[in-house]
Amino acid sequence: MDLGALARGTVALLFLQSSWSFEGKQAIGFWLLLAALARNRQERASLLSRFRRPSNTNHYLAGFSASALVREFRADPAAAERIEPALESMLAAQGDNLFWRALRPFWGAAAVFAGLLGLRWAPWLFLAGFGVCTLATRIAGLFIGLRSGKSAVRRVADHVPRVGHGVELAGALLIGLLIVPGLFGHERLVWAWSLPAFGLAFVWRAGHRSPSPLFLLYLMLAWLVKAVA
């Protein structure tokens, strides 16, 4: 295992989306990631010429797809070119569900819970939970992809939904824990305000609407209630 390539790849992964555009998506970042994983100048040029097209996947899992692609490329460049879209789309959906739908909200809720309990390290809990987890995934992705190729990507794609499901179960429990201090732990009568807001936000979000107008509306209502009171 080339540790230099691993280190360069990790840095390239951190900047994968720096020039994200609707046309090329993560293209430039992905090309630089491939260049970082190349063994020599010749391989770098060859990788860059073959994969010069738009690219998009979940960026936390991009290490798996890029390193697996480089490994397959070393064995059969034409085959590697064919499997690239499949590798990326496989990890895109799974990664988005795990990191955006499960892990980030979970650690966000955990930090809020810690904050409500008055723990001053609540923000660092979020960073330790989510930040460390995403960094470890990136490094592991590069390592495993370079070692095992596309078979590793398939195994990861099979495991990710199970992990996501576990986090969602823990998230449901956490929401239960948060409901008591979050909706009822206020001054007298404030819960009469919180409970309908909670229900309305649930229905509102279930309809895929942005919470911003609802938040503004509730602030205006609070102003009105305070003025009347």
Binding site: L32, A102, G185, A197, L219
Partner: protein, 224 residues
Amino acid sequence: MIVFQLLAMSLVGGILLLDRWAVGEFGLSQPVVSCSLLGLLFGDFSTGLFVGVCLQLVWAGSLPLGSEVPPDAQSAGVVAGSCVMLARRFAPDFVAQAIFLAFALAAVASIIGGHADVGNRKLNRFLYVRGLTARRTGLLVGYQALGLLFTLIRGFVVTAIFGTVFVILMPILRFLPALTRTQLLAIPLSIGLGSAAVLFVTRRRIPLVALGSAVMGAIWIWAR
């Protein structure tokens, strides 16, 4: 003096907002972290943490799935944190009112920030087109750096604009409602819990939610 603080906050805001999607995405730009960091840097960690805890879950359900650009929760957090820190320094008698106004500006910033984000990504198109024909890796690194710069400028401008609006609105703080901290917490937290519940709570998981509530309720009653 206020101009220097505003500029410093906008720069810190711009750097924090790089974490939205351009660098790392470790969560530094999430409200609970960014507001706490702003509080730490500008002298009131507790208030920063309070604002962050309030806002963290409001946009929890808005997800950047695929190529979708969701409302900008990160800008909302940075704007709210910056405004409250400005008020703490320049209108210390009206911090509660400032938090109320900061929440309103944060809601607007989440919408405007989302549009600015789309504009930023459209601007990056020219980097991609140039990158397609770049022969040297050094050139690609340059385009990446330019992309970073555009995102930094976007974050700086969004924070600076809302900070300036806040400074302009400072004289009206005395007319805003002076809500207690628990009242201030109740508004975003109840909406945030509703948003987060959409992600985790399904019909089959209601027993888990009930279990969590029962455990916490028992602890709460025992503690009282």
